[in-house]
């Protein structure tokens, strides 16, 4: 996994602040693989928040927080949000959970 301890701490702190203490985070994509180089940071966030407007608002605040943090700054970060209480599902949710790393 190519995420520093500071980065892991930062993303967890910000996700819990904006998506709730019970939010779960997975790192997936190329950053999972120690043998690769570079690449975006891809995270899946699963939240109990159901209101889509609130999810969008919190995602914006989270991204602002990441950009303001020394550990992420200008890094390209992609965040997919899964609603725990919804039956809506996308293949990426399964991919991220099965192939990714739970932070």
């Amino acid at each position: 996994m190519r995420v520093t301890p500071q980065q892991a701490e930062t993303i967890k702190r910000l996700v819990h602040r904006h998506f709730g203490e019970d939010a779960e985070i997975w790192l997936y994509g190329s950053r999972v693989d120690d043998d690769k180089r570079g690449g975006d940071y891809d995270f899946l966030v699963e939240t109990s928040i159901s209101d889509p407007d609130q999810i969008i608002e919190q995602k914006i605040a989270l991204i602002v927080g990441l950009r303001s943090s020394p550990s992420f700054a200008d890094e390209k970060v992609d965040i997919v949000v899964k609603r725990r209480r919804s039956s809506f599902s996308l293949p990426i949710y399964t991919v991220a959970k099965e192939e990714g790393v739970r932070l």
Partner: protein, 139 residues
């Protein structure tokens, strides 16, 4: 310019998970136009209007101050209401407009938030201009 495009899309706002799946070519064209004008206005404010305000206010800011520091100064002198809001507008314009093609619920919410951001930017632009007019009237 931005205001006109926003007026044109207004009949379709707010988008819903349903309506976003039937979004027409004309609406997509409008959304692209709004995204472009949103970007141009915010970039222009960041590069010209806001630095001008700081210059006129003669705030003792270091020449190598970061933009984040400049935003904090602008908030402190009341030229903008919130540095945080400026940063959120940037994210709203960049990260949201074309995200979530497969998730209609979030896609609709994202587009609505993006349009709300564009609208807020036009209000912010006017309020900064008003700040300049009232604090630095031509003598």
């Amino acid at each position: 310019m931005l205001g006109e495009a926003l007026s044109e899309i207004r009949p379709h706002v707010p988008f819903t998970a349903d309506s976003v799946q039937h979004i027409g070519k004309e609406q997509l064209r409008l959304l692209d136009q709004i995204a472009f004008r949103f970007m141009k206005l915010q970039d222009s404010m960041g590069q010209k209007l806001l630095p001008t305000v700081l210059e006129l206010a003669q705030e003792p800011i270091a020449p190598d101050a970061t933009f984040a520091e400049k935003l904090n100064w602008l908030e402190r002198i009341g030229a903008i209401a919130s540095a945080e809001e400026w940063k959120r507008l940037r994210v709203a314009r960049n990260a949201i407009a074309h995200e979530y093609p497969e998730d209609p619920t979030l896609r609709a919410a994202g587009i609505n938030r993006f349009l709300d951001g564009a609208s807020r930017l036009t209000v912010l632009y006017e309020s900064v201009r008003q700040y300049v007019r009232s604090h630095f009237p031509p003598s």
